[in-house]
Subunit: 181 residues, 2 copies
Amino acid sequence: MKKFEEKTIHTENIYNGNVVKLQVDDVSLPDGKTSKRELIKHTGAVGIIPITNDNKIVFVEQYRKPLEKSLVEIPAGKLEEGEDPSVTALRELEEETGYTAGTPRFITSFYTSPGFADEIMYLYIADDLETVENAAAGDDDEFIERIELTLDEAKQYVADKQIHDAKTNYAILYLDTLERM
Amino acid sequence: MKKFEEKTIHTENIYNGNVVKLQVDDVSLPDGKTSKRELIKHTGAVGIIPITNDNKIVFVEQYRKPLEKSLVEIPAGKLEEGEDPSVTALRELEEETGYTAGTPRFITSFYTSPGFADEIMYLYIADDLETVENAAAGDDDEFIERIELTLDEAKQYVADKQIHDAKTNYAILYLDTLERM
């Protein structure tokens, strides 16, 4: 779908970081005029909804520097180059919670902020959780606490804005929908 | 909630754009070590689910330069400084679709990408749509087409990934949940 395509005239690379790249493109608009677009490049991310054998959802709490507060979220992480998202899902699950799981089932994917970023989020659900002995450690600058909640408890966390991000709010609504079916 | 707080040691401002700002913070971690955080600053955004009198949902199709393709999304836009999100919702609705609506009802809010951005999305629903004569125009670099779909049609757009962003996927799931109640 290329409707209203904006052709790139010039790209200025502003920043090349570990998490994001920033570039500013001069574009040609459908009416022939020009404009600038600020573009954040990201490798994509994966979130996983882990369900324990006693039907609790496994979350992680971590500090989110952009917000200057901690949030409770489903386990998630960045896609490595060329990695299948279901592999990322199990890796992040182990690193962040110490659990492994059965085969993750794909739920949906979505762009998080298509106006300025190309980040895509792949969302999975998995059960048959088992504790991993000597679980792989995550990045050494990640401080994470595991929290296991019932769906009702999680909905209260949403109401209290302790759960307050797109993938996790979507996950809670998704589980709530399943329960009504 | 300040659990695992990361204190700022130094902030480097990299870019100050119209849509995003980028800064890189040196932070002090809970174990006393230091790390860098890449932070995108954004003023926040509002999305609105407009429901017509014949129970269709109003979407807009526009080109998303970060993705190099067009998406079908609910009407949305950036919060102006100090603006109430419900005001933003009605303004964007008029600019992007030519409709006005009754009082928008708040559904939820969420951070779109809390790992690297502070953007928050406020989500509203509104009905009692009326066509505005001489509707306010949007930004002159926005090319937008209005599309009205039933919920079933919209679910097909999700399946086809023509609808493929966090706020709109959430909106469709939300409407689907309402219909099951």
